[in-house]
Symmetry: C2
Subunit: 484 residues, 2 copies
């Protein structure tokens, strides 16, 4: 419980309009997109300026109060889940665009600005912001920085870290620092790179200067229908080996196609594996690339290749793809969306293992991939009303991560570690690797008040750390389906 | 002085062949490419395995012996300069290519492998390694990692940090960690990003997995002759604003052109400003881009645009550009090469200031730019035999950095901070920014034995830290001219 004197002090910083203490209102903040975990915070503060954030963190530091920064609350790994003793610092009111520097292709914004609004603000001038998580119409730039957010177009354009140039950051002790630089290859350590993807454990970014990119002259998307996932995957490898770099390459399997069809009617060809390739750039170039890409698909057995004829058709293609997870609800009363990464070349062997594992559990698994990046999103379908099925589904979803790591991959591509996968970190990293990260964490936050008990395995939550020793937990499909 | 027992212990690790103690041999290691500073080390060790590096660092840690890692010794900022009490760990014998994974476009090498040899090893398969410092035929991958090396083609392909996926690193206490990941967007902190460019202050990388890229089908270079630097610079901005991303865009001014002509006879057009634009990719695309780029140059007043007709002509164009610094010796008995970065749009105002400053000192300054990146290399020409001229040249070269920082830029684009510019760091960063970097340094190296007294300002070397308080020193042109 916060002492009354601290409540008073905090409310003086943000005003009574900027502080939430009522139990019912606090419920809004008790979880993020990972709804299986719910902990109401002690209080929620809604600062509007960097100065207010500094003053709040100085109080937290002096009183050793843990804090959790929160953007739009769309994260899928519980990064914004409060701790029992913590306050939440909601940044949604810091939603102003501060400066637009077109000649240098930069925009400076506050952390609560919605991802899609960066593109909206720059589109009239012919620019866009590249990282495009599927939640981009609701998720915030601050949250994107915390999670190093990706999206379908990261294949060509890179993750959030590629696009954030400079940040104003409030450290956990309230000090203000500038991380990164507006010029390339700045001297000293690249602490912007460490901060981005640190899931709120190193401080709070309150201002960020972002690279914007020139909108391509043309965007084209092609659908290629294959009889096997492997043929589609081989096409992806061949496209990259040919030196092409599409804006996006996505694979959906038959079940995902059916689900999307039931949900938003994208009129996909009915096939075992659908490969969706988007190309962008000057029109004449894109036409040439499209010829080459189409040829590669046909050589790998694509029996239908269909170019979206216009912008309406192209957006419908993407609507189907982006709806694929939510649409899993049409196939099964419950499901779990997993997020793992493998080397692209391991796809055949990993898929074979996954299918065998699913068959052994008598569970259906459908797959959607960011294929160019090797980022898998297996969706495990189950029915909670069948006794024991949920436990087997959770167990399978975690064992899938083991397979990803064993193939030389990773336990998460986009969704982050947060609370969900912190115990899996020991499976991916050796003790000295994790200890080095911890030392860096302590360099920023010696009191461990910035989003503590996240990201890293802790004895309390994970027990003795051993490879494969996950802490299973019930994942609730409904909360996961909205954003990914 | 090393105690005899420690000498014995170290020699047992690397063998007598792997240890240098003789004064004359040690002289080879008393400086790197910044030859104005010379300090002979206590000893030089030449390990051949990661295990040997670990054992050496355990001794250093136990005995608190400072160590300086050294690649090929081509660095320009004194990063490999020994300290008086330090040993040098030379990594040139760790020069093996360990694995070539073509399907995943990765190669694993030891730190002593020469930059150009990575491309040489992969070229027969159609691949190349992108970062191309002008010293690439002699500099090592380990040194490239220490300095986050760049090169003319970083405009399109990014600096070293973009291409290093995973490293085995020996920490200053001898512990072995893996930093980075072969998969994109790995969970946890991006410590590979911090390590790359840390100039040897966080440990020693002994194995690195590197991204290789598919060789483009076609490479074309065009020379465009302008009457003013500003017209050439405007063309660069217009090319980028048009959404084009050339592999390289370089500007040379009249003096640099003349110097190159005297030196390697590249047959450049005689003009006030030469813009060199290289495009690469599929041939049909490059042809289209070249049309667009040529049009932009002409619209900005290029009175000659000349396409290199074949590979021989193209290489001659680059030979001239890469010789530009060494060729300054044809113009003047002595010179200083500076390295600063500015926002591309500040080029007109910064150039105006530079010219006025040079005129006020009655000194000639010639300019070569990585124009796309805003990376300036002003070359200050002077004659040491004219009393006081060297001091004025040094002073001018440092004041140029002030102008870069004031324009929103940086004190170094490629050459690093090392010993040369550590006192300038206070001009670029505020105290809390530097203190945060220091805390991260201490997280890796609490005893401050890894390349100490480099990169950061120290009271001993820089006095009281104030903006603009540089520690001037004599730069010797001969050592700087070879590599840049």
């Amino acid at each position: 419980m916060l002492k009354p004197s601290i409540v008073t002090e905090l409310s003086q910083i943000v005003g009574t309009r900027g502080m939430i203490m009522g139990q019912s209102q606090l419920q809004t903040y008790e979880c993020d997109g990972l709804t299986a975990f719910r902990v109401p915070p002690q209080a929620v503060l809604l600062p509007e300026t960097t100065d207010q954030v500094q003053r709040i963190l100085r109080v937290c530091h002096r009183q050793q109060i843990p804090f959790v920064a929160r953007g739009s609350g769309t994260g899928l790994s519980g990064g914004a889940l409060p701790g029992e003793d913590s306050i939440v610092i909601g940044l949604s009111r810091m939603n102003r665009i501060l400066n637009l520097d077109l000649p240098n292709q930069q925009i400076t914004v506050q952390p609560g600005v919605i991802n899609a609004n960066v593109t909206a603000a720059t589109a009239p001038h012919g620019y866009f912001y590249a990282p495009d998580p599927s939640s981009q119409t609701v998720c915030s730039i601050g949250g994107n920085i915390a999670e190093n957010a990706g999206g379908a177009h990261c294949l060509k354009y890179g993750f959030t870290v590629t696009h954030i140039l400079e940040m104003t950051v409030v450290l956990p002790n309230g000090d203000l620092v500038t991380l990164g630089s507006r010029t390339p290859d700045a001297p000293g350590y690249d602490l912007a790179g460490v901060f981005i993807g640190s899931e709120g454990t190193l401080g709070i970014a309150t201002e960020m200067t972002i690279r914007i990119m020139r909108k391509p002259e043309t965007v084209q998307v092609i659908l290629a229908a294959f009889d096997t996932i492997l043929a589609a995957a081989q096409s992806v490898s061949d496209v990259i080996a040919a030196g092409q770099l599409p804006a996006a390459m996505e694979i959906m399997d038959r079940l995902s196609i059916e689900a999307a069809e039931l949900s938003v009617h994208p009129n996909y060809p009915a096939c075992e594996a659908l490969l969706l390739i988007e190309l962008d750039g000057p029109e004449a170039e894109v036409n040439l690339q499209m010829e080459a890409v189409t040829k590669i698909c046909k050589e790998n057995g694509a029996w239908e290749t269909r170019l979206a004829v216009d912008e309406h058709a192209r957006l419908l293609v993407w609507k189907g793809r982006k709806a694929a997870f939510a649409a899993a609800g049409r196939l099964s009363p419950n499901y779990i969306v997993q997020d793992g990464v493998i080397p692209r070349t391991s796809l055949p062997s990993v898929l074979e293992k996954l299918n065998a594992m699913a068959a052994a559990e008598n569970l259906r698994v459908t797959n959607v991939f960011h294929a160019g990046d090797g980022n898998l999103h297996p969706i495990i379908l189950y029915d909670r009303d069948h006794p024991g099925e949920e436990e087997r589904a959770i167990d399978l979803s975690l064992r899938i991560l083991d397979v990803c790591v064993e193939a030389g991959g990773s336990i998460t591509g986009e969704h982050g570690v947060g609370r969900e996968k912190q115990c899996s970190m020991s499976y991916m990293y050796a003790d000295p690797d994790l200890e080095t990260m911890q030392r860096v964490r302590r360099a920023f936050d010696p009191l461990n008040i910035a989003n503590p008990e996240k990201l890293f395995p802790t004895p309390r939550l994970c027990g003795e750390r051993t490879r494969g020793a996950y802490a299973p937990h019930p994942l609730e499909a409904s909360g996961i389906a909205e954003v990914f």
